[in-house]
Structures are given as structure tokens and as C-alpha cells.
Symmetry: C2
Subunit: 203 residues, 2 copies
């Protein structure tokens, strides 16, 4: 539709997730009239990510140093490890301000059709962490917080099998059920089934 | 929430129009696992736009050459000039495939509070084009297609005053009214008022 550099930029922006043709056009025209230093800051940030993002050597979360802020924080309970698929899941759980333990980022979920088996995930590192203790503290509980979808459930089942025979270790799974503010009438069968199966005695 | 380069990228992406914190995070994590050449194509496109986008010397649309594709196309009716605010408006009208004339891009709309007066818009260039003829063809009609909002209406009124005394020139304004597929009941008063005032005899 446009010519030259503008269309090139619209095309490239349109390849990003969640950016449709209209958003790409809107962003491109915003950038045309942006100050060069603003664009430079964006390209600099892109180049740093392109050159490789450092990951925490302990938990696999994105990190600036060898250990991420959470793994380096002695106030975080090292006996409680929450296993998630991706760094963005760490961010989601941190936003709840409910969890004071540590994390372990798998780097994905089991998906044999895409060639992602247990070796492609950081499962061996999880076992090493449990075996060697975390900061000298014995891991007493692993909370499996993979997504409640096909791949995440398969990963949770696999992890359960691997971890269940470790003495003194509790393995738990985050609850599935109706979202808060949700409506029973409009819940899908699977979610409602889970909500029923996961019912808890009221205090 | 994140550390180092990832958070920098999320921050920069979040400054783009229409990109909220969640989208910025999603795009950043997409880019972390993207291939370096994909990121290079995006930064290259950004750098070209940063270094300045060429505009058509005739109509002011974005262009690769001195004249844009539309101004260089002899099949486009040079006697009919559609005046728009921005290059993206040219794209919007081109998508209708209804218009076979030429364009004139003002580069904005009158907005005295933001310091945009007639001198900041390409109005002088429009008068020169009309005076000198376009490709040897006399301009017979100028269609004012500025946005139907405060600034666009003010710009249309101003242009009408400037252009109305040019002999042999028709000045028209695109119609305002109910959008197709719209609902009378939910139309705002201004739009419905315009739709009534702009009523046309049925054939």
C-alpha cells in the first residue's frame, strides 16, 4: 500500500505477535514523526536482546547477573520451588504477591509434535537443584505451575512421575477452577469439571 | 518486573501507540526467542525510517522516488484532487478502489492550540498545484477529505474559504452520516444530524 521504507517497517512490525496490519501502520506512522533518539532507544534495546539475553544460572529466569534477583534474595524461601514454563509466568506469579518461594523455569512445555521432549526442558537442572539443596536448604515442596492446557498438563504429569519418589518432597499442582468474577453458567465443561473435582471444605 | 535488556525492551515497546504492558511483554518474549536475522530486519527497517522517509514532491505522500506511484501514474485523473490530512488517509481511500484522481497530503489539520496554523500545512503547495495545473490538466474539483472532527472540520472550512473564489473549481466535502451497517438508534446526535442534513433524493 505504501512505498519503500514505510512499507518495509509496516511489514516487519506486522510479523510481531498481536500486531495486525492496522496497528503496524499506526505504529509506523508514529515512528515516522518520532524523534530519532526515541527510535535509537528502541533499536538499541532490540540489539541488546538480539545479542542474547542472560538467564539466571540457577532458575533459568531472565536475569542481569549470573543469579536473578529472586535467587539472590535470602528472604525468599528456598524450601519451596514453583516450576513454570516461561519467564513471563514468573512475572505473573510475582504480581500476585502471594508467593515467597523460589522459581524454576522449564523453558517451555512438553510438545512431542514440535520436537520438545524432556531433554529440551530444564528438568535435569530441577532434579540437580532438589538433590543438591537450594542455598543449603532442603526443598520440601515443588509446586507445578505449568499452564492448564494440553502441553502444560502433560508436563505436570511427567514431572509428577519423576518427582513423586523423592523422599520428603511434596509435589503439588496449582488449582484449576472457575476464574474469580466468573460465571458458572458460561464456564466450559472442562473448567467446571475441574472446579467440582477440586472442591475444598469450607472453613 | 524483569531485569536488564528484557525490561528495557518491554519499556521501549510500551511507548508505541496501541501497545500496552501485556502486549509489550508478549512481543519482547517473542523477540528473545526470535532468530537474530529477524530482529536485524526489524532494526534495519527502523533505522531507514529514522534516517528520514522521502515524501512525494508533488502531493506530499510517502514515496520512494521524487514522485509517488499515484502522481507518476498517467491513468490517474489529474483534474480531480482529494485533499487529506495524512499519508495513512491516502491508503484508506485507495483501499476503497473508488477514487481514480490524485491526492494532496496536508501533513495534519489546523489546531491552533498545538501551534498548527495554515503555514504548517501544505496549503500553499495545494494552491500552487491548482494554479500551475497538474501534469498540464486543469484541476476541476477539489474533494476535501479531512477527518470529520473539530480539527478536520476547521481545516475544511478554511480550505473552502481559500478555494471558493478560484474560477472553474468545484470544492466538495466527503459525506458525513451513519456508517454502513450502523444502527440509527445508537448513532450520536451529531452524526444523525449530519445524516439528515446530508440526505439525498433516491433514484
Amino acid at each position: 500500500m505504501f512505498e519503500g521504507p514505510v512499507q518495509d517497517l509496516i511489514d516487519e512490525l506486522g510479523k510481531l505477535p498481536g500486531i495486525g496490519p492496522k496497528s503496524a501502520q499506526r505504529i509506523a506512522f508514529h515512528l515516522i514523526s518520532a524523534e530519532p533518539p526515541d527510535i535509537d532507544r528502541l533499536t538499541a534495546a532490540l540489539n541488546r536482546v538480539r545479542d542474547g539475553v542472560p538467564f539466571c544460572s540457577v532458575c533459568g529466569n531472565v536475569s542481569e547477573a549470573d543469579r536473578c534477583r529472586i535467587c539472590a534474595d535470602p528472604r525468599r524461601d528456598a524450601s519451596l520451588v514453583c516450576v513454570v514454563e516461561e519467564p513471563k509466568d514468573v512475572a505473573a506469579i510475582e504480581r500476585t504477591r502471594e508467593f515467597r518461594g523460589r522459581y524454576h523455569v522449564l523453558g517451555g512445555a512438553l510438545d512431542p509434535l514440535s520436537g520438545i521432549g524432556p531433554e529440551q526442558l530444564r528438568i535435569r537442572e530441577l532434579l540437580t537443584r532438589i538433590g543438591e539443596r537450594v542455598d543449603g536448604v532442603e526443598v520440601s515442596e515443588v509446586i507445578i505451575a505449568t499452564d492448564p492446557n494440553t502441553e502444560g498438563e502433560a508436563t505436570a504429569t511427567y514431572l509428577m512421575r519423576v518427582l513423586r519418589d523423592i523422599p520428603g518432597l511434596t509435589v503439588s499442582r496449582i488449582a484449576s477452577g472457575l476464574p474469580m468474577g466468573g460465571d458458572l453458567e458460561f464456564a466450559d465443561e472442562l473448567t467446571l469439571g475441574r472446579a467440582l473435582a477440586g472442591r475444598r471444605a469450607m472453613a
